[in-house]
Symmetry: C2
């Protein structure tokens, strides 16, 4: 897999009359969804990780510093977060539909937070849980890939909403992290429980009200079988399918009918524009008050982007996977 | 399948101090969901179709006349609709959770309407479409099993909401009915279009916004593949699975995520209590104004319940399947 990537050196051309902003990227977000984009043709062979910017390159969320700007909206020295690229420098052309958010440097959060807990990962967890799943106090919440960048936040947010939360992950260390550090009520290693339906029955004797699905496949089937009436499933990812290792879910639609289950696909950018200010305020407070733990997994240097990306699919990473640039 | 049923003669015991109401059933509702109840053990072997009432018997929606009442809520001569049974007479014990609705005989609708278009079939179509799918004018709506008791109403209701509506069914006569009598914009015979994905692409070049699913299986997969962003799927039935003839759907959850599709199971009784008055008023007006066509398919006599039920699974019935009792 790492051999599928190529890091290229290319020249960036910024000019004062281009309307463009030149951003020196500081942290790159490494997310599983890039794998789909590759499979679906949104990222094509030939799009490369560049030491400087020149399309075609792999677009991704990142945080950086403006080093030159031909746009009145941004000035040199601004810290920004947005859809930039897997590269050292990005040329960004602002438009009504393409904006970077300015990072509040006075908030004294590490810069990296702005592409994780305060960026798309956090927004996906927050919007998906609160807008789609609408947790009520006392409800039972199940989170898969719970030690991942989004799952870990979903579980913590659900605890703050007064829910009973169980997560699953693929190693003992991750399971311990969920229980000991992230405050999950319980957690289990799905690799040691091949009968997922029975496992969920044990962890949820009274059924599941909300399932935040990051994996799809058999886990989705097992969760549906254990859901309560009016259960809600937020479908965030299908990592079991990304690499072809797992098979697709064959959900029992009779369960969906009889239990009037809602299954809904979620996407951070649905919530970002209208709820970002609310989200940012709430999560910032939670972090400051120590109510949300931030777990990051940082690799160094552009050269390590391919290895960092591969880690997402081999169960090695814990929390938000980032690459810190020089 | 007919041989799986047994019609038994049994004695009904009603007494004036029982609190019970004795109802002479006039029309019985024949619905595919009974098949699930049998498969799931909600209807067990030994539960019979009775010429008089004695549990265990097969419970179903029906309309009838009160012939004796030991309840202050009902009087002899009242026409009622509710969850009664596949039998000539039902002993009904009213409680806060078990009620029959009194049928408005002055409305001059045929009695049978109260278990079809003005009963659970109508409520399923109305609640499922308007409460779950929320159609907007101009949206594209696909209905499967569109010549069935619910599908035919969903399509007509969606047309009244200003949508573009295409239905599918399994015979040319049904397809003609959808187009010529029920006002669907288009319709097709799915048996003549083995590549359902391509068929839906042809009928919906701009994609599907709402899919009202009565069949599940490959049709659900094909609909999801053709859905637009923010598409909604109301899951009402999975008739392709009931008899084991079709295979279960293997939906592409990546489609669900990327298109933020909502899939929701529906059930008439979720809408019945709170929206029945609104529903009844709206549908009554639509029928009187000729805006909704009522298609019924009536068999005669309790002895024909088994054959009527089997028709649902062999593609023979059109519209609401009923049995009229003597």
């Amino acid at each position: 897999m790492e051999a599928d990537f190529e890091v290229k050196e290319q020249t960036t051309r910024w000019s004062p009359d281009s309307g463009e902003v030149l951003v020196k990227n500081l942290y790159l977000s490494i997310d599983p969804y890039q794998h789909n984009r590759m499979k679906r043709g949104a990222v094509l062979p030939g799009q490369v990780i560049t030491h400087n910017n020149l399309s075609p390159r792999i677009v991704s969320y990142a945080v950086g510093e403006v080093v030159a700007s031909a746009s009145p909206e941004y000035a040199a020295g601004d810290m920004v977060a947005g859809v930039l690229g897997w590269e050292d420098y990005t040329l960004f052309k602002p438009s009504p539909t393409a904006r970077m958010s300015k990072v509040d440097a006075s908030a004294s959060f590490p810069l990296s937070y702005h592409i994780g807990v305060l960026g798309t990962s956090g927004m996906t967890a927050y919007g998906g849980l609160f807008e789609v799943c609408k947790p009520a106090k006392g409800e039972k919440v199940f989170v898969s890939a719970a030690a991942g960048s989004i799952g870990g936040l979903v579980g913590q947010f659900a605890k703050l909403a007064g829910c009973y939360v169980v997560g699953c992950a693929g190693t003992k260390a991750k399971v311990d992290l969920l229980k000991d550090k992230l405050g999950f009520d319980d957690a289990f290693n799905y690799k040691e429980d091949p009968d997922l339906k029975s496992a969920l029955k044990r962890y949820f004797p009274d059924g599941i009200d909300i399932y935040f699905d990051n994996v799809g496949g058999e886990m989705l089937e097992a969760a549906l079988a254990n859901m309560n009436i009016y259960g809600r499933v937020a479908v965030c990812g299908v990592i079991s399918e990304y690499t072809g290792a797992g098979r697709r879910a064959v959900p029992d639609m009779l369960d969906v009918i009889y239990k009037r289950i809602t299954i809904r696909g979620i996407y951070a950018w649905d919530f970002m524009p209208k709820r970002f200010a609310e989200f940012y305020g709430v999560i910032s407070d939670w972090i400051r008050q120590g109510k949300v733990q931030v777990i990051e997994d940082v690799s160094d240097g552009l050269e390590n982007v391919p290895a960092a990306f591969v880690e997402l699919f081999t169960g090695q990473n814990v929390g938000k996977k980032l690459v810190k640039l020089a």
